[in-house]
């Protein structure tokens, strides 16, 4: 039996940190999908640039949260164990590689996708390495965040694809599969943390789960309508946009919940109680 105190919500990371996870995940996922979706020419340039801007925007949010922003370059000093250092290194690599891919340098697009995926993994592992927060240290949080990053980026890609004439049936299946996998990973994750996270945290995650389910259904219906051709040329733009934005919205709400509303700290706990007056 353990005697546990009251857990408190973490306050050290605010919405700016959440924005880093949201924008970083979406941006890196978009770069991966732009390459996997075989976008070419102007479409590839636009999508890669958008992905890079999103990653940069997220990092700039978290830069504003630093207590000593002028020392930000120190972030690169501990790649041996710190996932934050690794995230920074991945981001620093992502910029030249993506720019080279935009300029059409051979092989750079694939490299950009690999570095973007590595960036998403680093972000996900950052949360998992926080041993103080039960909702984060659960190992399934890493695959959940990585898959969600791909879904968010895929959502943007799907929404933009009719306008940019990018993507094909294969990438549609790819996107739909990730949407489905995300909700499955979430359900397994939710079950895994049931005994470790306080009720208030679980309630917040359940709300995020409800949003995730709704957006998953919307996205899959959109994928089915576009993929089967039922939407027709007239409605494809609207359906793809809504389905893509739904996938993105589910990820945004999930990540903001994870960082801001479900992040209860490990409460102080005693495995034994004292007996005063004995010595």
């Amino acid at each position: 039996m353990t005697y546990t105190g009251c857990p408190a919500l973490q306050k050290a990371w605010d919405a700016r940190a959440a924005m880093n996870f949201i924008c970083g995940g979406t941006g890196s996922g978009l770069i991966v999908f732009a390459v996997a979706g075989d976008a070419r020419g102007f479409a590839l340039q636009v999508l890669l640039l958008a992905g890079l801007v999103l990653v940069g925007g997220g990092l700039s949010c978290v830069w504003h949260e630093l207590g000593r922003p002028r020392r930000a370059l120190n972030v690169f000093r501990h790649a041996r164990t710190s996932w934050m250092s690794r995230e920074a290194i991945a981001a620093a690599l992502l910029v030249p590689v993506t720019l080279a891919a935009m300029l059409g340098v051979s092989g750079m697009a694939m490299l950009a996708a690999i570095v973007a995926a590595a960036f998403a993994v680093c972000q996900a592992r950052m949360l998992q390495a926080s041993r103080a927060i039960p909702a984060w240290r659960e190992p399934l949080v890493a695959p959940l965040l990585v898959v969600s990053a791909f879904v968010e980026g895929g959502g943007l890609f799907f929404a933009a694809s009719p306008w940019l004439s990018a993507g094909d049936a294969q990438v549609l299946v790819f996107f739909g599969s990730f949407v489905l996998v995300r909700v499955v990973v979430f359900l397994v994750y939710r079950r895994a943390i049931a005994g470790a996270v306080p009720q208030a945290g679980l309630a917040a995650l359940d709300r995020a789960g409800a949003v995730l389910h709704a957006t998953t259904i919307a996205s899959l219906v959109g994928v089915a309508l576009v993929g089967s051709g039922i939407a027709g040329e007239t409605w494809t733009f609207a359906v793809a946009s809504l389905a893509g934005i739904a996938a993105l919205a589910g990820g945004v709400y999930l990540k903001s919940t994870l960082v801001l509303r479900a992040a209860y700290r490990q409460a102080p706990a005693l495995s034994h109680l004292p007996a005063r007056g004995r010595r």
Partner: protein, 233 residues
């Protein structure tokens, strides 16, 4: 090799917060920042209740999660086990704050004073290096280093001992080299039932909480020895 540790006798602590006050005095921490604090925890329902005072601070872990996550190497562990922060290197990302299971770290974004404007004492002791970076209990490392340089023994000589330990009115806190079998802290840990908080997380905390084995009614492995504590949840 020297390995500093602290023993907290939960049977002795009366929750007077003198250690909290002495820590604030010794380290000049700003309002709202407590490197050391005493938790007042209540368990159970009337009439079967228990109230426990739990002194908490940095546990100077063997495997500190704060050190692993720190992207700058500002957090380091000395050979004697004390976990330190280099304020000139820390970027104030607060990753260590969310990684510490003991809630031992604080980041202060801007200077704060008890009465708005700094008092003469606060002005004299204000340290800009501590603004915007992570701070925490250091086991009063400056006292330890200054004391040992004079040939004093931490945990024995007050001049080389953390301020909280010196101030404790109930002798609930014991400090010293746990690798030295003759030290008070090594004896306290060897001769008493004890546990380490959140040890299951693999942090290897160097703060040992002592308790009364008989009254608690359970063995070291947690199995009941004299039955469950009555109606305490």
């Amino acid at each position: 090799m020297t390995r500093y540790a602290m023993a907290v006798d939960l049977d002795r602590c009366v929750g007077c917060q003198t250690c909290t006050a002495s820590c604030k005095h010794a380290n000049a921490t700003p309002p709202g920042v407590q490197w050391r604090r005493v938790l007042d925890m209540e368990f159970g329902h009337y009439p079967d209740v228990a109230r426990v005072f739990v002194p908490m601070a940095c546990q100077h872990c063997d495997d500190p999660p704060c050190m692993d996550v720190c992207p700058t190497q500002a957090t380091r562990k000395r050979p004697d086990g004390i976990v330190t922060i280099d304020y000139d290197v820390c970027i104030g990302c607060a990753y260590c704050v969310v990684a510490c299971p003991y809630d031992a770290r604080t980041k202060v974004a801007k200077p704060t004073f008890a009465f708005g404007k700094p008092t003469p004492s606060e002005a004299a002791r204000f340290d800009d290096a501590r603004i915007g970076v992570a701070t925490k209990c250091t086991f009063c490392v400056e006292r330890i280093d200054a004391g040992t340089a004079k040939g004093l023994t931490p945990g024995v000589d007050p001049e080389a001992t953390p301020a909280c330990v010196n101030s404790c009115i109930a002798k609930a806190l014991t400090f010293g080299d746990i690798e030295d079998p003759q030290s008070d802290v090594a004896k306290a840990v060897a001769n008493n039932a004890h546990f380490r908080m959140h040890a299951e997380l693999g942090t290897g905390p160097r703060v040992y909480y002592l308790y009364d084995r008989q009254r608690d009614g359970r063995r070291e492995d947690g199995a009941p020895e004299m039955g469950e504590p009555a109606a305490i949840v």
